[in-house]
Symmetry: C2
Amino acid sequence: MIDVKATTGELIDAYYSSWGSGIESFDARRLRELLADDVYYESPIAGDRQGVARFVADLMRIAADLRSPIRIVKRFESDDRAAIVYDASLPQGSIRFAEFIDIAAGRIRTITQVFDAGRYQPGGRR
Amino acid sequence: MIDVKATTGELIDAYYSSWGSGIESFDARRLRELLADDVYYESPIAGDRQGVARFVADLMRIAADLRSPIRIVKRFESDDRAAIVYDASLPQGSIRFAEFIDIAAGRIRTITQVFDAGRYQPGGRR
């Protein structure tokens, strides 16, 4: 269980390392510790969704598509928020993602994701 | 000329209000005060570019496409950085943009933009 006093930086490190290096090191159990049970996420593909189970399943599809670890380009954080830009090497090529994260009680509570959905659909679905 | 002691919040307000309400209120002169002369910007369409003249021209094309003022969804800032998510009502529909901004000497120095380039090209160009 992650310490609720973990810093934002530690939480963000743990989040991206739990899925961002691909399916071999994908850690669903760890993700369920880092994410609030009712995590709310918005993305151009998934739309608006709530709940850790669906989100972890979506992350697994992205991890399975990764050709190499994600590369963080910009990272910016405060006590209860973080904003990250990263490049992901995917079957369609390098796709840039932006994520805005809100943190509450030591866990990720909301994620707003922006990316070029015209070029990438996780797992090939639309 | 913007006061170099202007807060990040004031600079960000001024930046989005100089182009984000459409072409009628587009303010190229104000933008040239807010942006560093050698502003560096990256976007999925423009690629990597430097220089205020080209950037202001690109913003003008986006402003001309706006059907209503942009709507800021997330906003997050520190002394020298800001990260913003906004929705823009464009001919193709509502498109979500994320922008990461670095500030130096009271002006915007770099902008990293992420959006669904599959759905939107400013001014219809590719």
